[in-house]
Amino acid sequence: MPPQHPVDPPGSRLAALRGPRPPQPYTARKITALTANPACSRRAVLDAAGVDKALLAQRMGYEPRFGQSPFAIAREQAFEALVKWGGYAELIRLLREQLGVPVQEAGVTDLNAVGGDTSLTRRAKETRGLLARLASGSDERLILDRPLLTLEVAGQTAHLEPQALTHRVGGKFYVAEIRSFPAIDGQANPTAVAQTAKQAAVSVLALHRTFEELNLDPEQIAHEFLLICPKDFSNRPYGRLVDLRQELDALRFQLTRLRRADDLALALPPSATLDTDRDVDELDSSVGALDASYTPDCLSFCEMARYCRDEATACASPTRLGGRVRNTLPGVDSTRTALAYLEGVHAPGPAETAAIDQLRAAERLRRLRRGGAA
């Protein structure tokens, strides 16, 4: 499938910042990343503008270490194909076992393309129409393969593509996510499951919004999703329902806290640019003008992490050392200041005194007790 690019609204400031390159799609992964670090305006604006962050980081001299191994890609595709193989036989078997679907219901609609048209708008429209018919009971399907849902986030339209949606299982719609990490003795890697659950929650939320817009009963949407992954060390699919209520609550809350990306972009001077084909210095000063909020977690999910880390190091941000050091320095916004307090060069303000006294006591004990240990 050729990459599908969303279309910019006319006269968009964000589009102007990005320049002539086509925008990167706004995906579930980006939304979960945004909610993982809601204080970061930098990422919010870059994603909303559809900037290719990996390319941007590379242009500024920071090779991001992201990407997928050809082995992992092959495995993922093979597994998804296997689940959907033979008229979705495995998926139907799982649905029967996990959700008690009656055998005879096996209507499937493939939404990867609509009459050969793979454009996002067309697929989204088709998905909406079908959802409306299904939810009102005028049509029946067991499986929607790669439906396309939309969600407004921070003033941008995100396009979401869960692997599958099942309908009319106990009168409810379930999102299904297919992943290639294994469930060994019924247990999958908890971090991977949590990650998938966050992404599924985005799709479920999009489903809710769609239902609201279409005046359909949201009670028909399940607050669980079906996680499908390989069983043990085999390729056999294994399915499990995972509760999403917590993720949904967290996601709704985070989304209300997000400021509109175009408002955030107003902070940039008129000359700013995020066009990856422009001069490095120009890019650097524009990116630098967007507020970041680096934490070591960024290294695991954001292409900009190494750039932001150097910036955080340059301004001695305590957060760069991780939450545990950060927590011993409440109210102190620089490790240099903290060190100056330790040396007695600066006196802390009343709010910091208690914490700094404790640090000084620790420092003194360290000096007294370490003996010959350098």
């Binding site: 270490r65 992201f66 990407g67 997928q68 191994s69 050809p70 082995f71 992992a72 890609i73 092959a74 495995r75 993922e76 290639s180 990490f181 294994p182 060994i184 003795d185 019924g186 247990q187 390989p230 043990d232 060390f233 085999s234 390729n235 056999r236 070591p296 977690d297 290294l299 695991s300 190091t313 001695a316 760069r320 050392l321 991780g322 545990r324 050091v325 011993t328 320095l329 490790t335 903290a338 060190l339 330790l342 404790q358 640090l359 006591a361 620790a362 420092e363 003194r364 004990l365 360290r366 007294l368 007790r369 370490r370 003996g371 010959g372 240990a373 350098a374």
Partner: protein, 503 residues
Amino acid sequence: MSTLAAVAALRATETGRAERLTTVRHAHLDDHPFVLVPLTLAGEACAPLAALAGTDRERPTLLTVRQPRDRAERFRFTQRLAALLLPYIDQCRTAETETYTVGRGAEKEERRRFLRAPQLLVPGGEGIAYVRLLGRLTRLRAVEGPYAVDPSVPALGKWLTWFADRAEFPGSCLFQAMTRLLSAHWATGQSPAEDSHLASLLAWIDPPDGLTGAQAAREAEDPLRFPPAGPATDVVFDQTLHDLMSRYDEAGDGRGREAVGRQIDRELRGQMLPTWELVWRGVDLLRGLPEGGHVAERWTYDRRLFSEYTAYLDEDGRPQARRDHAVGAARRLARLEEAMARYDAERAFDDPLVMAEYELSGEAFTGLVVARDEDRFAPGPRPGSMVWRPTITVHSELPVRLTAGKEVKCPARPGQKAQIVEVVPDGEGHTVVVQLNGGFNRARKPPAPPGTLAEVGETVTYTSVDPKSMPSVLPAEEDTPWTHGGPPEPYEPTDEDAEEIWE
């Protein structure tokens, strides 16, 4: 993280080098550790790709799988790993033994334990997870019937599972990850997430000449010079490997194929060799630290568990179950907490820099002995009786938060019971009167035998933390002799286990 560790990290950002968190080494480092640097194929549950392994730093053995999706090749890999690890374990069990006693009175029993035990080292925490998975994958295999594998495969699986189980227990050194060992002894000026990368961690601890730790750590992130420590591989390297493997598959039989195969081996070795060397450098650095007082005692316990597990394998030999029962898991959790508390207390007794954390929290104090009353008698338990209870008076410059009546101990005289009698403010700190309730080599009256009563002018530390007051380190006798984790749960592998697919 403790406040002292946070201060150490702050200092490290200033000095550009890692700062010591301890004055001694709190882990046993064997003379002959078995180092394992594994790699797996991306995207798979547990597909071994390669390993460098062995006890000889100069000559690691290279194991590779040229077609990781081929089941037979995978089992050959585990067989080859078994051929390295099992003889190493056997060397430990044929070594000499010593006798020790368990139980008391009529229950008293003499047992033997080996003087050596195996020590398995991997680069990082993911290596431990890998060993657990590989153990799970191999221990339930059948050695007879249609899905028979070589007997060394399930034997390896049981040992790997045993190692992985032991790795969870604080203080056990049978199976350790180098990053964990190092970060228990040094604080860097970077985050824990970055410390889990062995090359950056070592860069902070021991930067090359002319570079600060911070600079060296950045350079250590270059995957060309320091490939990931595994078992996950570098994505860019995977592209190279993918091409080579495709060529290998297409080459048909014959010499062309063997040539590509050798190239795959070379590439894989190149990915692991830097990590292999880093692990050994970590070994050197740790050996450079003096050993803590309780390390030998903990290793003795490790040797006991090793001896008991070998005995179990000889007598019964069934593998560990697929998953812990809920009861076993709950007991195991309690054991883990106990082990943690004991390990913390022992380290504090062995190391003033660890004890400092208790001083900071008010559970310990240190000061000069300013007076002592050697001839003091106090009312005894029987009415009208008097018992010999000398006191010492200690001045601490820091405030003391322990209160009168509290039972305390001094790490320098761990066999001596003591109790706080009085705490009086004195300048910024406190003066504390400590009564000694024994520990005078059985003497019942003055004078105190030399060395048993602190002298005036001596610096002493007293703490309410006591490693000996912790619940027994030994499992109750009715427990299984070979696990630390709960009642015996030997497992009878089924046909289904034996034929479990490994795709």
